[in-house]
Assembly symmetry: C2
Homo-oligomer: 476 residues x 2
């Protein structure tokens, strides 16, 4: 049984007709009156259906003429190029904090109507009402919760739920091997502090999310940027070359599934090879598994940790992107560094508050959680495709884009010579905020890239904003 | 009008009579029947009153004979000695983490019926119901709270409330100069990371709370322990001497008000001198103001930050001990390191969750907060005095104790040659957990001390536990 609202069922019907070529670009849609009569639906349902297809870029409204099938987006953009596998630059850090802070400050100071800068979903993508109810239940069931010291390492039930969920990613760990942290950011901090000392070299994907570069810089660690494929993730060849040039690499940090900003997914064979290579080289492997649940497929992606038999992989994850942006719930399972990470967490911030863990455990143990994830995946897929269509329609020739199989953002290559910094400023002036490519590397290698969030439901306003952005890129 | 329950009013009446000598030790209390008739109270009120006085150690029940006035505690113990002001030992760190972790693990593994080890109050000392209601209100008023990313630096209202409350401690800072942290522990981490690099020397009070020693060790900083008076706090003379011997001190960390474990309060003249001395020496001064609100007097204690005009003082505090052990709410105002601390907080754990801040702000803006603090102060004072009485009654000759003017614990010196480690183990076997003195220093200087929590309401069971502990100390 189809449980989608009537207007959505109707929309699917017409989408199929358009995809099948039954209705063609440029043709007029049946009028509202015809739709009402043909499908025995109300005026509001017929209208809602057309507006929905309009917001998805499938129809366009022409004044006094009704709705028309829109021209299909021009064929998708050229996929992003594979990186060259050369010896990496002696990257280290160049004060990315100052750069990122400057960009964030400029972004926050501006009045924007459209914010494409964050890799986070809109509130309506998340089950905040159900979580709120779970929190209220938690407060009722634990009346003296705020009067008692928080439990060491985290709430026991929550840790059990996480251990059970980890089985999906083929990780077999006990609840007592999980430490709850303040988001994945704290987990990464603890992992890096456990394996390295200031001055040490850490290999990272290039491009990578600026949060990681900031963490490395703030800990006095040096980032060694390894070329990373938009399709298959970090280049194992380049990593091996790097290790020959820099024999003192202490750790590798990767986002194997739906990398930020590329959206790449490492093939399982690469994951296994990377685990074995790191073991052989005695280099710690840190896995950031923040995005796995946001793939197109309902079949879970395997974590790198699944191939770890010696405790050399430190697994970090969070619920920030997949369940609740307003909860700071992350966790870490640190293999042979577990005791050291427990100590560092205790000394750095003590255990987390219990309430969000209680609420999240309550929700995640119910079947509603799986339903939420399926819905979230479907919506994000739709939003990514709509956004990719709009970018392909409006961006100037020479732009490249690989549409990833999941995640919250698109990584768009502008034609050469464009500066993301200049585009960022011009876009802000037009009320649009994006994340410029130069935030994602200590080098200037990605200055002609933009990361564009697909976290918000696609609307005519967003379409218009992409059109404006494209003209800024065109003129830049 | 006296709003205390009737049995408490009655108890006060008899306490006064005993203090005034109207009733003397060894005498029989009027019988329950007489009390009922004399004061026109119910059986349960009369019984409750006697049990209350019994639990406070004022009366003792003799089988089939009724209640008797107990012998007064022997005169209070000799006050703790002043430390010698010599050049400090080249303390640095000696792996206090391993020591503390070992003690904590042994403590957690044991089955105990009486836990005197934490410097934290019993849940019933805190307004957890009101906070719970405030949290539920917060969830109702912000239905999509868990769906939205948390606000940078913390909830605006909460920061305003803190800025307003800081005026009581004579600190004048704006809400935008406050960053919310995961408790005071994270605030201290950030402060130390802002001012020092691994290998640097930080001067600390000796003894000091083990949490600080763990933080220093985990950050690769070296603790230089400065003799500290149980009356007036850190010795300024000793600190000056230390600076002459170790010219590379980067910072000083002090708990000026109700130091943990000593309970000392620095006189205002010392606070001012310390601020000036640190400025002149170009040494950063970090203030931990966790306990100020727990003093005997309702007149607020001044923070060291009150004398800071150059931004050289980093102020850290939390609500953990004074409002809600179950909330991890701390904050930091970092003077001239503010921008660096903002950056470090963002890179270390991102901003805190909003809900506890919303709930705490709601409660703290009401008059209930002041009433709570007055009640908390009065109860802790009573508990400290009862505990001190019991210790004075039972501990062997040669023990020393200064009863502090506030706080959650007593710092008891056992007669020489006792080892707190041995006492800790023997006490655990008897079902009693204390904090051994050797946790409070990197040296072994305080191995003949115990820190005993006064956070729980004093009962006959606690009295018995102190008696048992005293006999363990006697035999040790």
């Amino acid at each position: 049984m189809d449980t989608a609202p009537l207007y959505r069922q109707l929309a699917s019907h017409y989408l199929h007709a358009i995809e099948a070529g039954t209705l063609n670009a440029g043709e007029r849609m049946p009028s509202i009156r015809v739709l009402m009569a043909r499908h025995q639906v109300s005026l509001s349902t017929a209208l809602q259906m057309c507006r929905h297809l309009e917001s998805r870029g499938v129809l366009e409204a022409r004044p006094r003429s009704g709705y028309f099938i829109r021209k299909p987006a021009k064929s998708t953009l050229t996929p992003a190029r594979e990186p060259q596998c050369t010896t990496p630059d002696p990257a280290q850090f160049v004060g990315v904090h100052a750069r990122v802070s400057d960009i964030l400050t400029r972004g926050q100071a501006a009045q924007v109507h459209t914010n494409f800068s964050g890799a986070v979903g809109a509130p309506e993508l998340y089950p905040y009402e159900a979580l709120r109810n779970a929190a209220i239940r938690g407060l009722r069931n634990h009346p003296d919760l705020f009067g008692r010291a928080v439990p060491l390492h985290g709430d026991a039930t929550f840790r059990s739920v996480l251990a059970r969920r980890a089985l999906d990613a083929r990780i077999n760990i006990g609840a007592d091997e999980i430490i709850i942290t303040q988001g994945c950011v704290e987990a990464l901090n603890l992992a890096l502090r456990a394996i390295a000392q200031p001055g040490d070299v850490i290999a990272v994907e290039s491009p990578t999310f600026y949060g990681l570069l900031q963490i490395l810089e703030s800990l006095g660690l040096r980032a060694l940027e390894i070329p990373t494929s938009p399709q298959t993730g970090i280049s194992l060849e380049a990593l091996d070359l790097a290790a020959q040039t820099y024999p003192n690499i202490k750790g590798v940090v990767v986002v194997p599934n739906l990398q930020n900003p590329l959206g790449s997914i490492m093939p399982d064979s690469h994951k296994q090879k990377l685990v074995q290579w790191c073991e052989a080289q005695q280099i710690a492997l840190i896995e950031d598994d923040t995005y796995s649940a946001l793939g197109n497929s309902d079949v879970p992606l395997s974590a790198i940790k699944a191939w770890d038999h010696s405790g050399n992989v430190i697994y970090c994850a969070s619920l920030h992107k997949i369940l609740a942006p307003g909860m700071r719930l992350g966790w870490i399972s640190a293999g042979r560094w577990q005791a050291r990470v427990e100590m560092l967490k205790y000394a750095q911030s003590r255990p987390n508050e219990a309430l969000p863990q209680i609420a999240a455990a309550d929700y995640m143990a119910s079947s509603a959680y799986e339903r939420h994830l399926r819905r979230l995946r479907a919506r994000l897929r739709e939003q990514r495709e709509q956004m990719a269509d709009a970018i392909a329609s409006y961006f100037p020739a020479g732009s490249c884009l690989t549409v990833p199989d999941g995640g919250l953002a698109l990584w768009v290559e502008m034609p050469a010579q464009r500066s993301s910094d200049a585009v960022f400023d011009a876009a802000l002036q037009a009320g649009i905020r994006i994340a410029p490519g130069l935030m994602f590397s200590n080098l200037n290698r990605f200055d002609h890239f933009l990361r564009i969030s697909c976290g918000q439901p696609f609307t005519r306003e967003l379409d218009q904003a992409i059109r404006t952005l494209a003209s800024i890129v065109e003129r830049a």
